[in-house]
């Protein structure tokens, strides 16, 4: 195995880590602020992919519009999930279980609707970042890889900065710390829920556009990225952005190393053994607090 192969695998791992990390941060923020396990994230992902594909049919040569369309459709999907699975039942008994099952039901309905609407054939997006390459000795970095990494990191940085510096971000962070106290000091739970779901939906949409530079868009194509995202979020500790980043790096490294040493089909096995190991040592994930992270 030459240096170039290892370099190829490593760059792939970095790209996928960035994208899955973004998904994980989305899941993590959703859980910690509104208390909803969003298992329809895969559906939002697929819907955003279809939205971007539809935009690319209308504007075939404009990458930015395709990307923005993906983000907007993702945000719309997030708002839809919020309106269906959060707003009606967030103050009812058994909300966590019912919310999770509601998102699962939305995922079932949504993916089947996509299947009925667009057919089972997968679609591909145009290359957003062009097709240029940069050579680093033996390694060849293509434009889409660089674009993927930069865009995902940039978007996450943007979201984190917005959450740190704006009034709305302050509200969201207050909800993440203690939703009851946030409600008492006058932060609207429902309104904040819409912001959170729109932002995390937008993250899923961007991830869908970026990932479809490598893979295809299909009605059920969101499931695998969602499970990756969930695993990373779980491993990093639900509710922690830093933890999700660390977990994404660890799992990305694991993926690269397992792929090189054992072979591609063992990646998931080693990944889950690693996650179980991490969770046995730290039951709330790497950055999670052992005590109850989120009451209610």
């Amino acid at each position: 195995m030459s240096i170039a192969d290892i370099g190829f695998i490593l760059t792939n791992a970095v790209v996928l880590t960035c994208i899955y990390g973004m998904l994980a941060i989305g899941i993590s923020i959703t859980w910690s602020s509104v208390g909803l396990i969003n298992l329809s994230y895969g559906f939002i992902f697929a819907a955003a992919g279809y939205g971007a594909w539809w935009a690319s049919n209308i504007f075939p040569h404009n990458g930015a519009i395709v990307m923005i369309a993906g983000i907007l459709v993702g945000a719309l999907g997030g708002v839809l999930v919020c309106a269906l699975a959060f707003i009606p039942i967030h103050d009812k008994p058994n909300f966590p279980v019912r919310g999770m099952i509601a998102t699962l039901a939305i995922s079932l309905i949504g993916s089947q609707a996509l299947m009925a609407g667009f057919g089972p054939l997968s679609k591909s997006l145009p290359e957003i970042f062009g097709s240029g390459t940069i050579d680093f000795g033996d390694m060849v970095l293509t434009a889409d890889k660089i674009g993927n990494v930069l865009t995902s990191i940039g978007f996450v940085a943007l979201v984190v900065t917005w959450m740190r510096s704006s009034r709305r971000g302050l509200e969201i962070r207050a909800m993440m710390m203690n939703p009851h106290a946030a409600a008492i000091v006058g932060i609207g739970v429902r309104r904040t829920g819409f912001y959170v779901m729109a932002i995390t939906g937008g993250m899923a949409g961007l991830a869908a556009v970026l990932l479809s530079q490598t893979y295809y868009i299909s009605p059920f194509g969101g499931l695998a990225p969602m499970i990756k995202g969930v695993s990373i979020a779980l491993c990093g500790g639900l509710g922690s952005v830093q933890g999700a980043i660390i977990a994404a790096i660890i799992l990305g490294l694991n993926e690269a190393i397992t792929g090189v040493v054992l072979g591609g089909q063992y990646v998931l096995i080693t990944q889950f053994l690693l996650i179980i190991l991490i969770l046995l040592i730290r039951p709330r994930g790497i950055a999670g607090i052992v005590d109850r992270a989120r009451e209610a």
Partner: protein, 545 residues
């Protein structure tokens, strides 16, 4: 207002008795009595009491004696009593669930023979699948409902056992009757492995992890050659269905075998959920673990025990699955299977065996019978699932409890709005009063005042002004009787300032030794004018009350 009253004393030459006095028409006092007595409480359009059919005759003692062998459980809880009105002997079936179960079982047993012939085959196949899925869901319900572990890996356990046993059967020629046993072993191992994180993780962390495990199984079997990645599954295991039989007999045998599997899963459910293990866990529901622990209940151990028992059962079902379908397909690991399975549990209601079975029946029926709808049937199932989650707190079998809670809420809302002022006591005041006669006296008094207010009219006042004393018309007589009967404190009286020249109205204090107070400065020229003044004050007080 045109009525007259004839004074009966006129003919006797009584002083100042007019023959005919104009007065008001007769108003029956019964009306205001009836109006007060009628219930003004808004009635709910639904019944307010639980309804039980009363069976006639004796026999409750016999039902109390009939027990399941070796236990003290009754077949049917029948209560015998005497009707308090007719004094006839009657029986009440307090818990009707055994009857429903029995009817359900009977229906399932005769199901293959009452099918319409044109789609008998597909319905029988659906019934077979229902049996297997109901068995899986019952075991899953033990994990989610009884043990409270949100594991989504139940189908992964079944699938692993099915693939493992099918592979062993193909490669080593194991006969079909060994497959469920080996499957149980696989389930035991798998269950112990995934029980390790369940001891540390709680709730949703575990749910998310098990979703991942399910996906891991799917991807692994999909990629590996020995599990038939090329043929869409692993087929060719030994089966319990004799190949020499006709296809009708084969499907009949398959149906009854699946039914037997479901019955044994129900038995297991009953044995785990209804005995000590289940009772321990019912004492330690989510968020009340600390209390259970403080009372010395080792709920963690109980949870893991239930989890492992269910995993063994799931492995057994996996072995049966392999022997039934002659192998296993990848679809058992797919996310949609888990989703539909969870949908079955949720639609029926989590924590109840009847919920698992009815939910399975609904989803399997929609899934298999509406096969021609394509993806729309799954959308329909998803919509049912979503609406159940949004509108019901615990599935179909939680409706009763939810409805009762809602009705009680409405009842108490209505009760709190029911408070009438003016003479009647508020409910809080009534409970505080020592003398309960007072409550009824006030009620009667209010009713009487309501009636008397309607009698006050210019005719009556003119009549009184003309002749304050002596015989009066019936309405005026009623008014005066009421006024005269008033208690002594604050009762009006007349004081003679100057005999035959000046009179004044005072109010008695009602206390011995305390002088009456002056009500007004006005001086009346005669005694009769003062009488009428007192009457007018009383009428005014009455109208203001």
């Amino acid at each position: 207002m045109g009525n007259i009253w004839r004074n009966p004393l006129f003919n006797w030459g009584v002083d100042r008795a007019a023959e005919v006095v104009p007065t008001i028409p007769y108003l029956p006092p019964q009306d205001s009595w009836d109006r007060t007595k009628e219930s003004k409480v808004k009635m709910l359009p639904v019944g307010r009491l639980r309804y039980y059919y009363k069976w006639p005759g004796h026999g409750a003692r016999i039902w109390a004696k009939l027990r399941y062998f070796g236990t003290r459980r009754r077949l049917l809880y029948v209560r015998g009593e005497y009707n308090p009105k007719t004094l006839r002997r009657e029986k009440t079936i307090v818990d009707k669930r055994p009857i429903w179960w029995l009817m359900g079982f009977l229906f399932l047993f005769v199901f293959p023979f009452i099918l319409p012939t044109q789609f008998g085959g597909s319905l029988l196949a659906a019934g077979t699948i229902f049996g297997i899925y109901a068995a899986i869901n019952l075991c899953w319900m033990l994990i989610i409902g009884t043990a409270g572990i949100y594991s989504l890996a139940s189908y992964a356990v079944v699938g692993t056992a099915a693939f493992g046993t099918a592979w062993l059967s193909i490669n080593f020629g194991l006969p079909w009757y060994v497959l469920p046993l080996i499957g149980s072993l696989v389930g035991l191992v798998f269950g112990m492995v995934i029980a390790i994180p369940a001891t540390r993780l709680d709730g949703f962390y575990y749910a998310l992890l098990t979703i991942g495990l399910n996906e891991l199984c799917r991807v692994y079997t999909l990629q590996s050659k020995q599990f038939g990645s090329a043929s869409g599954g692993l087929y060719g295991a030994d089966t319990y269905i004799p190949q020499s039989w006709s296809s009708d007999s084969q499907s009949l045998l398959a149906y009854y075998a699946a039914l037997a599997l479901m019955l044994s899963a129900l038995f297991l459910y009953r044995m785990v959920n209804g005995t000590r293990l289940g009772r321990i866990l019912r004492m330690a529901p989510e968020k009340r673990e600390a209390f259970a622990e403080a009372t010395g209940v080792d709920f963690r151990r109980a949870r893991i025990t239930v989890f492992v028992i269910s995993s063994v059962a799931l492995g057994f079902i996996g072995g049966f699955y392999a022997a039934h379908f002659r192998g296993a397909s990848f679809s058992i690991f797919s996310f949609d299977t888990v989703l539909l399975g969870l949908g079955m549990l949720v639609i029926g209601g989590i924590g109840r065996s009847e919920g698992a079975i009815v939910g399975t029946a609904i989803v399997v029926l929609l899934d298999k019978v509406l096969m021609s709808w394509g993806p729309w049937r799954l959308i329909l199932i998803g919509l049912i699932m979503l609406s159940v989650v949004l509108f019901m707190s615990n599935g179909l079998f939680g409706i009763k409890k939810q409805f009762r809670a809602w009705r009680n809420k409405k009842k108490s809302e209505r009760r709190s709005t029911r408070s009438e002022k003016g003479g009647e006591m508020l409910p809080e005041e009534a409970t505080e009063t020592r003398d309960k006669d007072l409550i009824y006296w006030r009620r009667y008094d209010k009713m009487q005042r309501d009636y008397l207010k309607k009698l006050v009219s210019p005719e009556i006042i003119d009549e009184h002004e003309r002749c304050p004393l002596g015989q009066h018309s019936e309405p005026l007589e009623r008014l005066l009787l009421y006024f005269r009967r008033a208690p002594q404190d604050d009762k009006y009286a007349i004081v003679v300032v100057d005999p035959f020249k000046a009179y004044r109205i005072v109010a008695l204090s009602g206390v011995r030794g305390v002088a009456p107070r002056t009500v007004e400065e006005r001086i009346y020229p005669s005694q009769e004018a003062a009488y009428h003044g007192v009457f007018m004050r009383r009428v005014q007080d009455l109208m203001e009350s």
